[in-house]
C-alpha cells in the first residue's frame, strides 16, 4: 500500500508541475500573439519613417545642377526608381501624371534613377522636363539620405521638409494637386 501511496503522490506532483509549466507557456504564447499581431499591422517600411527628416546629401542632376539638402524644397514628391524593376514600369504612367499636376512643377518633383549600368541614361531621359532627375548608384547620397529600402519608393515632404507620407505605390500617396 505504501508503494501505491507514493506512486499517487508522485503522479499528483507531476500533474501539478505540468499545470504550472502549461500555464506559463500559455501566458508566453499570449504575449507572442500580441507581438505578432502588432507587427502584422504595420505596413512594410519603404524609406525613412513618416515624421523624420532626410539626411544630408549633395548630388548633381542629369543636367549638371548641384543640390544639397538645403535646396530640397518643401512639398516635394521624391521618387526612387530602378531600371531593373518591373513594378517601377507599372507605376510610370501614374507617376508622370502626378508629376504634371504637382504644385510647383519640376522643382517639386525629384526622381532618382537608381542604377549603375548604361540603361540608366535612357531611363532618366523619359522624365526630362517633368522633374528634377538624378542618377545614383544604390549606395548614392540620395538613397542613403532617404533610407530607401526597396523600389519603387515614393515619399512626400511636407511644408517643413519632414517626410509626410511614404508608399511603394504612388497611388497611395496623398499628393497635393495644382489648381
Amino acid at each position: 500500500m505504501a508503494l501505491l501511496t507514493v506512486a499517487v503522490v508522485l503522479v499528483a506532483v507531476l500533474g501539478l508541475l505540468n499545470l504550472v509549466l502549461m500555464l506559463g507557456v500559455i501566458r508566453r504564447l499570449r504575449e507572442h500573439s500580441d507581438l505578432l499581431s502588432d507587427q502584422q499591422g504595420q505596413p512594410p517600411a519603404v524609406m525613412l519613417e513618416v515624421g523624420s527628416i532626410p539626411g544630408d546629401f549633395v548630388s548633381s542632376t542629369v543636367d549638371g545642377r548641384v543640390f544639397s539638402r538645403a535646396d530640397l524644397p518643401p512639398m516635394t514628391l521624391v521618387a526612387f526608381l530602378s531600371p531593373s524593376c518591373e513594378h517601377c514600369e507599372e507605376q510610370l504612367p501614374v507617376l508622370v501624371d502626378r508629376a504634371r499636376t504637382m504644385p510647383g512643377g519640376t522643382e517639386h518633383v525629384w526622381i532618382v534613377v537608381v542604377g549603375k549600368g548604361p540603361e540608366t541614361q535612357p531611363y532618366a531621359e523619359q522624365f526630362a522636363g517633368l522633374a528634377t532627375v538624378f542618377v545614383e548608384p544604390g549606395t548614392g547620397a540620395l538613397p542613403l539620405a532617404f533610407g530607401v529600402k526597396g523600389f519603387p519608393a515614393f515619399g512626400l515632404l511636407d511644408e517643413r521638409g519632414i517626410v509626410a507620407s511614404t508608399a511603394f505605390g504612388i497611388a497611395r500617396l496623398d499628393l497635393p494637386v495644382a489648381r
Partner: protein, 184 residues
C-alpha cells in the same frame, strides 16, 4: 463534509492571495488598479480609498480563511466581497463600459461575462464551504482529507487565477489585418 469545507477554504484563500499579491507586487500594478476602480463608476476622489478597502478586505479574507476557528466568517466575507465585486462588474457592463480587469494586478483583458461567471462560481464555492463546515462531523481533518483538498483546490485556483490567459487561448485568433498592397 470536512473535505468540502477545506477545499473551499483553500481555493478561496489561494485566489484572494493571488489577487492581493498581484495588486501589491508593483507600485504600478496598484496604481493601475486604482485607475480601474475609477472606471467602475467610483468618483475619482474616492477611487484610492475604495481600492485600498478592496485590497484590505481581500487580505482579511485570506487571513480569516487560514485560521480554522474564523473560517466560517472568512467564507461569509468572501461571498459578500464577491457579491460586491460582481455587482460592480455587472453595473459597468450595463453602462456599456469595458474597463480592464485588474483583478490580479497586471492583465489588460476587458471585463466580460466570464468574470461575472467566475465570481458567481467562487461565491457558490464559499457557500458550499459553509455548508460543508456546518455538516462536518469531528473536529480536526484527517491526513487524507487534507491531501484531497489540496489536490483539488490548487489546480482549480491556478485555473481561476489564469482564467484570462486560458480564455485567450481558446478565443478565435484575431483576424489578420489586411496588409496594404505594398506594390500597388
Amino acid at each position: 463534509m470536512r473535505a468540502l469545507e477545506l477545499t473551499a477554504r483553500l481555493l478561496l484563500a489561494l485566489v484572494f492571495l493571488a489577487a492581493v499579491v498581484g495588486k501589491l507586487r508593483t507600485r504600478a500594478g496598484f496604481a493601475e488598479f486604482v485607475g480601474s476602480v475609477g472606471q467602475f463608476g467610483v468618483p475619482t476622489r474616492w477611487a484610492s480609498p475604495v481600492a485600498r478597502l478592496a485590497v484590505a478586505t481581500e487580505a482579511a479574507v485570506v487571513v480569516l480563511l487560514t485560521v480554522g476557528r474564523t473560517a466560517p466568517a472568512g467564507l461569509v466575507l468572501a461571498a459578500g466581497l464577491l457579491g460586491v465585486l460582481t455587482a460592480a462588474i455587472v453595473g459597468a457592463l450595463r453602462r456599456g463600459a469595458r474597463p480592464a480587469c485588474r483583478c490580479f494586478g497586471v492583465g489588460a483583458a476587458p471585463i466580460g461575462a466570464r468574470h461575472v461567471i467566475r465570481n458567481v462560481v467562487l461565491a457558490v464555492v464559499a457557500l458550499l464551504g459553509l455548508l460543508g463546515g456546518a455538516t462536518a462531523a469531528g473536529s480536526s481533518p484527517s491526513g487524507p482529507t487534507v491531501l484531497l483538498a489540496v489536490g483539488v483546490a490548487v489546480p482549480l485556483a491556478a485555473v481561476v487565477v489564469r482564467l484570462d490567459d486560458l480564455a485567450a487561448l481558446f478565443a478565435p485568433t484575431p483576424s489578420r489585418p489586411t496588409r496594404p498592397a505594398g506594390r500597388h
